[in-house]
């Protein structure tokens, strides 16, 4: 009996880690793309919230999780278009605009939610899971890893695609150049502004889908401020992963586990304060930063606007 019980707890932990980790994963992958291209995106939190709200509305009225994810992506793109126009094209301060987008995202989603639903928070049913034949029969790993939302698998595929893009395509090379040495990219005849714009667009879309996953699958409900700092967590994951997509995947999963550990512990009959549990991922990040402070890496041209001819 005890063995079965442990299996259930472990399954819940891994499965919860994946569900909580996917929004982080998508957002951190998005941030990886734009950080590599030299845009520090402090507006991620706002983009996630906009994606979460718009996605929730889509899934609620359209009765389809996929419509929700699509609308979430569009919401994220709309939120990040401010970043593109103001920071990439006009060269305004990325930190100030990032803060503004986060504040606006927090405020507008809370206001819209309040205007639409008042103080009631309607819930969504859980979307269907896809089980992978044969593999889902493995104990513990089967029900937790191989019976998940389709989007979870797609996220992993996306990481693979991104590794390939960064490693062996011109697009990836351009993106990296835009962050490492924008002058070189410009000299090679590629527009820095366009490259960075595409990168930020991808970030917005991914953060939007991440937020939509959070509200549609993770919580099943939209509540104001529901991201609770996950956008910033994504930035740190990306920083510690040194821009490597595979490490982003691993890091996001680990942080997902620390986010979902409360539920698993409650299943195991251990009751600890949720405040303490909510602090765990941030404590983990600070410890990681203190231990590996020398190893975190950011591209040299990060957060610097590019002006042709400037040296």
């Amino acid at each position: 009996v005890s063995n079965l019980f442990h299996q259930a707890v472990l399954t819940a932990l891994i499965s919860g880690g994946i569900i909580a980790g996917v929004p982080l994963m998508l957002t951190a992958i998005g941030e990886t793309i734009s950080e590599r291209a030299g845009v520090l995106n402090l507006g991620l939190e706002g983009m996630m919230l906009v994606g979460a709200y718009v996605g929730f509305i889509g899934a609620y009225y359209g009765h389809s999780a996929w419509l929700g994810f699509l609308l979430g992506a569009i919401g994220g793109v709309i939120a990040c278009s401010f970043m593109i126009v103001l920071c990439v094209w006009l060269g305004l301060d990325q930190i100030v605009i990032g803060i503004a987008i986060t504040l606006a995202g927090e405020g507008i989603t809370s206001v819209l939610q309040g205007a639409q639903f008042g103080t009631s928070y309607p819930r969504l049913g859980a979307p269907a899971e896809v089980s992978i034949p044969l593999l889902h029969k493995i104990p513990v790993i089967g029900p937790s890893v191989f019976e998940q939302q389709l989007l979870v698998y797609l996220t992993v595929v996306l990481v693979g695609v991104l590794v390939w893009v960064f490693r062996s395509t011109n697009v990836g090379l351009n993106l990296r150049a835009a962050g490492e040495k924008p002058e070189a990219l410009d000299a090679a005849g590629v527009s820095v502004a366009a490259t960075r714009s595409y990168a930020v667009l991808c970030t917005g879309a991914l953060a939007g889908v991440g937020g939509a996953f959070l509200s549609i699958v993770g919580a099943g409900v939209f509540t104001p401020f529901m991201t609770q700092g996950q956008g910033y967590m994504a930035i740190v994951i990306c920083m510690l992963a040194r821009g490597k997509p595979v490490w982003v995947l691993v890091g996001a999963f680990l942080f997902g586990i620390s986010l979902s550990i409360a539920t698993a512990l409650q299943l195991a009959g251990i009751n600890i304060s949720t405040d303490l549990v909510n602090m765990l991922p941030f404590i983990a990040i600070i410890v990681a930063l203190v231990l590996f402070a020398r190893r975190s890496y950011l591209p040299p041209a990060l957060a610097l606007p590019y002006f042709r001819g400037a040296r």
Binding site: A100, L103, V111, G118, G229, N278, L304, R311
Partner: protein, 397 residues
């Protein structure tokens, strides 16, 4: 200092000689325009947003006036100023050094939790003036202590302080909740909150008003900060560090020490803001209480061009907006988070106006010096080069 700043921002292009007075008048007008236009544009855009939501913007804004100024509510606004102003001054200290302390929420709430936990028992045993002074000191110490890790990482390894302060902020908020629900919980009530300070154990009011003396403390802090930042060598070193860390190291500024000390001052002021708010208005701390003063203060810090005196009218404006905003949002049946949208709009319009101003190379910028220089250099260079007067400067990137 102000003379130096004015000189360094003189336009590069030769201006036709004009009488001195009209030029300085033009500069003041320009300064006013560039400070006020973003706020006005944001209020207009917010009004349009209210129209889209089906609310009446005129009655929303007049509710703000009713709830924030009229019938003695100006006194509430004045009291709201105390924490906002102290946080603003704390942020000005680090922003001038081009350091981003974004961990104000954690510093504020942790200081609030600790001081309201210690407050009731302390106030029962020592005279009021001593208790208040000690509690301000405790709050300042807690706020400062919470910046030590980000400051150390920034000074030692140049770790991005935006990230570390944010992470420490989330930890601080959680720890404050744990403290309020655990050791500092008032055993007499069921809701998670600390013991309430008796009214006669709180900050005394200014005679013939309801306004507590914390407001005076905040105004005094702004004046002292102005003096320190513009008239002392510490202020100059902060300025140099903010403008160019490499140059600062070159002229013998102990950069690491300066990073840590400006972080500590900033954290201490933010902690003191918590003391002014708790000891002056609330008297206790609740779990999950977060007024998020810091987020809303940021645009005004920039609009005031990181000047601790110039920030006072902006903070007064926002204090009215937020005090009256509670009533207005309630009447319009909207969450008070609508104010966050207004603040974000102010930030966006501010950077846009700044962009237009930079294009015209007028007046001063409200971005931190280093960033401002980095932004402006290309324009200056290009112009200098096109006039055939090319010169080598330090690398911008």
């Amino acid at each position: 200092m102000s003379v130096i700043r004015a000189r360094e921002t003189m336009p590069i292009v030769d201006e036709p000689l004009r009488p001195e007075r009209s030029r300085s008048a033009a500069r003041i007008i320009d300064l006013l325009v560039r400070s006020l236009v973003p706020v006005i544009l944001a209020l207009i855009a917010g009004g349009i947003l209210l129209l889209i939501l089906g609310r009446d913007p005129l009655s929303f804004y007049s509710d703000i006036w009713h709830g924030g100024v009229q019938q003695g509510s100006w006194q509430d606004s004045a009291m709201r100023m105390a924490p906002l102003l102290l946080i603003a001054v704390g942020l000005i200290f680090v922003f001038r050094a081009n350091i981003w302390n974004l961990g104000y929420d954690g510093q504020f709430l942790l200081a609030a939790a600790v001081l309201s936990g210690l407050g009731p028992s302390l106030a029962a045993h020592v005279p009021l003036w001593l208790a208040m002074t000690l509690l301000f000191a405790v709050a300042a110490a807690v706020g400062a202590a919470w910046t030590i890790i980000p400051a150390g990482l920034k000074a030692g390894y140049d770790t991005n302080e935006i990230i570390t302060t944010l992470m420490m902020s989330f930890i601080g908020v959680g720890l404050a909740n744990i403290l309020v629900k655990g050791p500092f919980q008032d055993p007499a009530v069921n809701i998670p909150q600390t013991k309430v300070l008796a009214l006669d154990k709180m900050l005394p009011a200014i005679p013939s008003t309801r306004i507590h003396v914390g407001v005076v403390v905040a105004l005094f802090a702004a004046i002292v900060a102005y003096y320190v930042l513009t008239r002392t060598s510490f202020g100059l070193r902060v300025q140099v560090l903010g403008a160019n860390p490499r140059a600062a190291r070159h002229v013998g500024v102990q950069v690491r020490k300066l990073i840590v000390s400006s972080f500590l001052v900033s954290g201490a002021l933010i902690g003191a803001a918590a003391a002014a708010d708790i000891l002056g208005v609330w008297g206790y701390a609740r779990a999950n209480w977060n007024p998020a003063y810091g987020d809303t203060v940021i645009p005004f810090v920039f609009l005031a061009r990181l000047n601790p005196l110039a920030v006072i009218p902006f903070i007064a404006f926002f204090a009215v907006l937020s005090t009256g905003g509670d009533l207005a949002a309630q009447n319009a049946n909207l969450p008070t988070d609508f104010l966050l949208v207004l603040v974000a709009l102010i930030l966006i319009f501010m950077t846009l106006i700044e962009f237009i101003g930079r294009r015209r190379e007028l007046g001063q910028s409200y971005l931190p010096e280093g960033m401002r220089e980095a932004l402006r250099k290309p324009l200056i260079r290009r112009r200098a080069a096109s006039r055939g007067a090319s010169h080598e400067g330090p690398e911008a990137a």
